[in-house]
């Protein structure tokens, strides 16, 4: 049966929670690093194991930490 797209949901969170800040950082400021990491996973997703894309993720993680000015 033909699937139907109902509606594009809009962002419902307005409060600036820490998780929300992580969400914003990972989709805007670090979008390029996120995309590089995602592409690396997609290229190897039939055979992923720990740290397959460590290099890409390190860049993504560093960008997140820098944008949020926090370490974890």
């Amino acid at each position: 049966m033909q699937p139907t797209v109902v509606a594009a949901a809009t962002s419902s969170t307005t409060k600036r929670t820490p998780l929300r800040r992580l969400a914003v950082a990972s989709t805007t400021a670090c979008a390029k690093e996120a995309s590089d990491y995602g592409k690396c996973i997609v290229a190897t997703y039939t055979d992923v194991h720990k740290d397959t894309c460590k290099e890409e993720f390190d860049r993504f993680g560093a960008c997140l930490r820098q944008t949020l000015k926090r370490r974890w």
């Binding site: 949901a9 809009t10 419902s12 992580l22 996120a34 996973i41 997609v42 720990k50 993504f60």
Partner: protein
């Protein structure tokens, strides 16, 4: 001596009530979901922002209720009362009209959810009951209902075959059950993204998305529960989100948080960020949104009754189909 000041436990201590490990010796093998946690999650979702947050995420259930009422209208029968099992705030019941039924009885696990919307939004008379779907027969006598409907709630039930049997028992002979439940392909995008992120970042996976019913199994489950004249069909609702984060927010506001026994209460933020990146690259659409699939299985079954039409005995046919077709 120490002055011991009595202190109330912090609210946080209520946050996680599930045992960390699944113990198959003390728990029934059917116990997959933490019903108490599910009740709390639904209560919280309905209470957040005076119910407004919960109202903005009604879109999936409203869409499925709309598709279900179409099927329901095809049953040319009038009912004096209908039981809505796992009704939520009444997505399906609100669509019922007076020419079909006088009254609807809404049952739900969560008190705040079932009482979210006022009676004025319903055309028919409403009665609300807070009952665990798994203990239906404790609240409803056997052979008492003309029709039972259930719209997107049975995916949190531990013992699905058992609940289907209870539904059949609660129906009068020739009573009808109509249900919509989520199928196994539901949220496969989120499931795969989280799994890939956990494997790559942490080296293992843990349950985040519930196991859900396989459409192929549903007709045999309905048969086993004793329903006849079955109809089972599968449909999909696809929703587009700006990113994985909005999907997670909306699922929580729907009260659909993870309630698997032995779930992890914490996801590392690296893993979450990784999952969001993978979601976008693996499933993202050209317009920049990410899709989420809800696979819905619609079920119709009747409780057997002597006066009901039945298929003829095997081998009793007198006309050969071959002759007709030639």
């Amino acid at each position: 001596m120490f002055a011991v000041r009595p202190r109330l436990p912090p609210l946080r201590s209520l946050a996680s009530l599930s045992p960390a490990q699944i113990n198959t010796v003390t728990q029934s093998p059917f116990r997959v979901f933490d019903r108490q946690a599910k009740r709390l999650q639904k209560d919280r979702a309905a209470a957040r922002d005076w119910g407004n947050r919960s109202r903005t995420v009604d879109y999936v259930r409203d869409e499925v209720a709309n598709r279900m009422i179409e099927r329901f209208m095809d049953i040319k029968k009038n009912f004096s009362s209908i039981l809505d099992l796992g009704s939520g705030p009444g997505h399906f019941s609100k669509l019922l009209e007076l020419d079909r039924t006088q009254k609807v009885m809404m049952l739900d696990l969560s008190k705040l959810t079932v009482e979210r919307d006022p009676d004025s939004e319903f055309e028919v008379q409403v009665e609300r009951l807070v009952v665990d779907e798994e203990e239906l027969l404790d609240a409803i006598p056997r052979n008492s209902q003309e029709a039972i409907v259930s719209c997107l709630s049975l995916h949190w039930v531990n013992d699905l075959p058992g609940v289907l049997v209870q539904i059949k028992e609660a129906l009068k002979p020739d009573g009808v059950f109509m249900g919509a439940i989520l199928g196994g392909d539901t949220l496969f995008e989120l499931r795969t993204s989280l799994q890939l992120a956990e494997v790559e970042r942490e080296g293992g996976i843990s349950p985040h998305i519930s196991p859900m019913a396989d459409p192929r199994d549903m007709s045999s489950l309905m048969n086993r529960a004793g329903f006849t004249l079955l109809t089972v069909d599968v449909d999909e609702v696809k929703v587009a989100y700006p990113s994985m984060w909005e999907l997670l927010d909306d699922l929580r506001d729907m009260g659909e948080n993870n309630a698997i026994v032995g779930r992890r209460h914490l996801l590392h933020r690296d893993t979450l960020a990784a999952a969001s990146a993978i979601y976008k690259e693996l499933h993202g659409q050209e317009d920049g949104t990410v899709p989420a699939t809800f696979q819905v299985i619609y079920l119709i079954g009747w409780k057997p009754a002597p006066q009901q039409p039945k298929p003829l005995e095997r081998g009793s046919g007198k006309t050969s189909l071959k002759d007709v077709l030639e």
